[in-house]
Symmetry: C2
Subunit: 342 residues, 2 copies
C-alpha cells in the first residue's frame, strides 16, 4: 500500500508530519510518500533512522496555510502539497492521502481540482470518528454543508454506513439521525424529512438520537447537517476542556487537593486517554473519488501515524469502490440538475 502524507499540513509542519510518516512506515511496513518542500522534508528525515523503510519524497513547490481561503487556494496554489498529493492518488500513484491541513482547502482542492466527486454524490461530507464505549462510531457531516437537503443526509447515511462496515469493523452499522429528541416526530423539518427517506433506504436506520445517546454508543453512524454537526462536535470539545480546566484549578487550590491530584495523576491520564482525539488521528472526507483522511491541525506525530492507520483501513475496505457501487445501485444519486459543484 502507498499512503501519501502531506508534510506541510499540521500547525507545526513539517515536524510532526514527517515524524508521523516515519512511525507509520516503521509500524505498518507500507510505502509512505511525503509530499511538500523537499529540502525541508529531507532535513527532517535526516533526524530519524529510516534505513529499510519505504519512504519516498515528492516535491511540492507551494503549501496551503491555515489562514488561506479555500475558495482562493484551489486555483491560486496549484502546486501545493495538497494538490500534488491528491493528484498522486487520482493518477494511481498513491492509494490514500493524509493531511492535517486546512480542512476547507482540502475539501475545495479534492472536490473541485483533483479527485472530484464519486459519480452521483450530491455533496462530499466531512466526518469525525469517536471512540465510544470501546467501539468506534462515525459522525457526518460535521461542517462542510451548513445547509442540507434531506436526500443529502440520506446519502451521508449510506456513505457513513459503508465506512463503518468496511473501515471501522462494524458488521451491521446502526444508523441514526442527530435530533432534539428521540421520539418520532421530533426534529426540525430536515430531520423529519430525512427520517422518512431513511426508513425506506437500504441502511439499518434506528431512528433519532440525542447527544447523550451518541456518547452512550446507541449508534454506529450518526448523520446530521453540517451546521448542527459542527455545533455538536465543538460543544463536546468545549465542554470537556472547560470541565478539565475547572477540575485542574480546583485540584491546585489547596494542599489536600494538590496531594489528591498528585495521587490521581495516572487515573486522570487514563481518563484523558479515553477522549484523546490523537488516538484516532483523522477521519475521512467521504464522497470524493479517493481516500482522503483529515487530521487536526494540532496533530502530533502519533496522530499522524494513526491517521495513516485510518487511511490503510479505508483502502483495505475499498471504501471508494463500495460507495461507487452503493450509489449506482440506488436511485439516490445526484443528476445534472441537482449536482452543481459544491
Amino acid at each position: 500500500m502507498r499512503i501519501v502524507v502531506d508534510a506541510m499540513g499540521s500547525d507545526k509542519n513539517p515536524v510532526p508530519d514527517v515524524e508521523g510518516a516515519v512511525l507509520a512506515a516503521r509500524e505498518y511496513g507500507d510505502t509512505v510518500i511525503l509530499v511538500g518542500d523537499q529540502p525541508l522534508i529531507e532535513n527532517e528525515l535526516a533526524r530519524y533512522s529510516i534505513a529499510g523503510l519505504s519512504l519516498d519524497v515528492v516535491h511540492a513547490a507551494q503549501h496551503v496555510t491555515m489562514t488561506d481561503r479555500p475558495s482562493v487556494v484551489g486555483r491560486g496554489k496549484p502546486d501545493s502539497s495538497m494538490h500534488v498529493g491528491m493528484r498522486l492518488v487520482r493518477d494511481g500513484q498513491g492509494d490514500a492521502f493524509v493531511t492535517a491541513g486546512n480542512t476547507g482547502a482540502v475539501l475545495a482542492i479534492a472536490t473541485l481540482h483533483t479527485l472530484r466527486r464519486i459519480p452521483g454524490v450530491f455533496r462530499p461530507a466531512l466526518s469525525t470518528i469517536l471512540p465510544v464505549q470501546k467501539r468506534l462510531m462515525i459522525l457526518l457531516d460535521i461542517g462542510t454543508n451548513a445547509d442540507c437537503r434531506a436526500e443529502w443526509l440520506e446519502q451521508f447515511a449510506l456513505m457513513g454506513s459503508l465506512y463503518a462496515e468496511r473501515a471501522l469493523g462494524c458488521s451491521v452499522p446502526r444508523v441514526a439521525l442527530l435530533s432534539n429528541g428521540e421520539e418520532e416526530g421530533k426534529g426540525n423539518m430536515l430531520v423529519r424529512e430525512a427520517a422518512e427517506l431513511l426508513a425506506h433506504s437500504g441502511v439499518n436506520f434506528i431512528g433519532n438520537v440525542e447527544p447523550k445517546d451518541v456518547l452512550g454508543g446507541a449508534a454506529d453512524v450518526v448523520v446530521m447537517d453540517g451546521f448542527s454537526g459542527n455545533v455538536f462536535i465543538k460543544s463536546l470539545e468545549a465542554m470537556s476542556s472547560t470541565l478539565l480546566d475547572i477540575i485542574r484549578d480546583e485540584l491546585t487550590a489547596d494542599l489536600r487537593s494538590k496531594m489528591g491530584g498528585l495521587l490521581s495523576k495516572p487515573a486522570f491520564r487514563r481518563a484523558y486517554h479515553h477522549l484523546d482525539p490523537f488516538e484516532i488521528g483523522g477521519a475521512p472526507l467521504l464522497g470524493v473519488n479517493g481516500v482522503v483522511i483529515i487530521g487536526h491541525g494540532r496533530s502530533n506525530a502519533r496522530a499522524i501515524k494513526n491517521a495513516v492507520r485510518q487511511a490503510r483501513q479505508a483502502v483495505s475496505g475499498q471504501i471508494v469502490e463500495a460507495i461507487t457501487t452503493g450509489l449506482a445501485k440506488t436511485s439516490l444519486s445526484a443528476n445534472d440538475q441537482t449536482s452543481e459543484q459544491a
Copy 2:
C-alpha cells in the same frame, strides 16, 4: 411579591416543590402560593415549621405528568396546576409562575390557554441560564422552535438582551449568534440572515460565536434556533456527565487512585458546584404575557428555591413590561399574517 409555585411539577412532586417553596418564603420573605393537590400539599407543609411565613395554597384538581402530550394536555386538563397557576398570574393574583414540570406542556398552556403571547411576539422562546466565568448568560431558543425564521431570532435577541439587563444584572449585554465559525459569512443561511438583521437592530450585536466562546464568556446573550440550541445544551450535559463518569471510573480503578480520589473529594465537589444547574434553578419562557420560570424535572428543593429567586429578579426587572415596550418601539413585530399561534 407573590410567586406562584407549581407543587406538582418536579419528578418527585410534591416533595421538593413544597420544600423549595418553604425555603424561598423563609429566605426572601415573599408570599409563595403553592398550586396543586391541596391535601397533598398541606401534608407536606406539615413537615416544616412555617409559622410566620407567607405561604398560601390554591387547589388544582389535575396535574400534568412528564409523559403527557403537550398538544393534548392544554385542553385535556384545564384544571391542572399549570393552568390554575398561570391563570393566577394572568388575573393579577400572582406575579410569576415557577414550575419544574413538563416543558412542552408549560409552553402550550402558557401560549395557547392562559397567559398568551405579548402583542407582537412571533414565537415564545425557551431559555437557559449558564453560569460562565462568574457571570450569568442567557441562551435562547433551546428547544421550542426547531425551525426558525431570521426575524424570530432577531426577536429572541431583543428579549434575551432585555432579560440579561433587567434580571441578570448585565448593563450592556453583548448579543451573539451561535454559529459554526466566528468569521463573518460563516453560519447556515438562517444565521447569515439573522446576522444581517441584528447588525441593524437596537441590540449590542457582537457577531457569531462558537461553543468554546460561549463557555469562555464571550457573550451575555446567545441566540440560536431551537434545534441547534437543544443539540448544544444537551451536548454540554452529555459531555460533562460522560467525562465525570470516566474520571469516576478511573479514580476507583486501583488503590492509589482511590486514595487520590478521596483526598480530591472536596476539590471535585467545588468543581461540580461550578456546573450545578440547581444553583440557577430555572430559566424564563420569554415572550408570554407573564413571568414564567421553568426548572428541570429533577429539581431538588434548593433548585426550586433558586428558581423562585430567578422569578423575583424577573418580576423586579419588569421584564414583561420591558419586552412589551421594546417590541412596540420596533417594527419587529408579528402581524396578523405571520403570527399563527405557535
